[in-house]
Amino acid sequence: MCLSVPGKVVEKKGLAADVDVGGTIRKISLKFVPEAKVGEYVLVHTGFAMQIVDEEEANEMMKLLKELTDGPVS
């Protein structure tokens, strides 16, 4: 029930945004993340963006995972 899916903000008018969620454009409220910008990814839950996806953290995790997997198991 707490499912939230990432979507890209494609348009923003005040706190109302069009968000591309897996190819479907949904009307999403930015009430809880008013600072979200067009082009950023947000986590969408029941019509509301609940958090902005932190790309830097996401890239960092992937980098770490790849390093650990390629390197010796320790």
Partner: protein, 366 residues
Amino acid sequence: MVRFLSEYRDKDLAQGILKRIEKISKKPANFMEVCGTHTVAISKNGIRHALPENVQLISGPGCPVCVTANVDIDKMLAVLSLPDVIVTTFGDMMKVPGSYSSLSKERAKGADVRVVYSTLDAIEIAKNNPEKKVVFFGVGFETTTPTIAESIIEAKEKNIKNYSILGAHKVVPPAMKALLDLGEVDLHGFLCPGHVSMVIGSKPYEFIARDYHIPCVIAGFEPLDILESIYMLIKQVEDGRSEVEVQYKRAVKPDGNPVAVGVMNQVFEPADADWRGIGVIPGSGLKIRDEYADFDAARLFPDIEVPPTREHKGCRCGDVLRGLIFPYECALFGKVCTPTEPVGPCMVSSEGSCAAYYRYDERVKA
């Protein structure tokens, strides 16, 4: 390729984490996931069977639909039986049986029950039906509650007087505490709910690591997220540490989302709540503040007659939710209780432990 989803499903990377897990894991480790979305992801991706034998994943009270007590569903059905009422709810609640019926069964008999995607849709229904009383059945954890709070604020601002909430909201950390205090399950770590934590942050779990010495890792929902989180928990167990760590850093900040928490606290205040299988847990629920009493269905309909609560015979959802038994250990599982003919809520809800085990964990039934 869906950004922030597909890349976390890489098979080679998953194998890499599993190898690291096998390498370091020596001690017995029972980890509880306290989120229905985790339960489904773990079952769907076969993670239970991929782990070393000493690592056991136990599903806890992580599905808001499942932990809703019969009495709360009975109350909702009683409100639904009043004249001029439209009940709105998230789809998950429709088929969940109360003591005698469900919203879905009542709708089949002609009651006006409408499934909405968002609370804002429920507000629209209220606007478009001024002669009716539109009641939203508010169920959910901290992920969902801010959206329900926002609908109340919006209804008040827009002077929509025929909208109200019948709330059975719950908060997660007190339930984790209650499980530890019961002491029935030998737990070595919690896989903490990623999207609850996206709202409340990582701090509310600190007492668990500090006072109960139980490691906590806040996990994302893709296979690599879950495997990495399990690795982090095992690392804590093997090192003899107990800390709150965040694996799901792309969504979870230490303070969560203060705007959402602020909206939630503006409308709701802490209250006790009745959890299926566990009973009343102090401070584990939320009630609408007096300032918003006009939007509280419990106060708008004080005289509803709720029949005596009845539990389903033989159903062990309560024991499943407390992590005492695995779903397949219930005598009804897969025999009289299946997703098409469910007896208990854990088989009804798509995120219920029984439904997840039934759909994906075929092998554990033998």
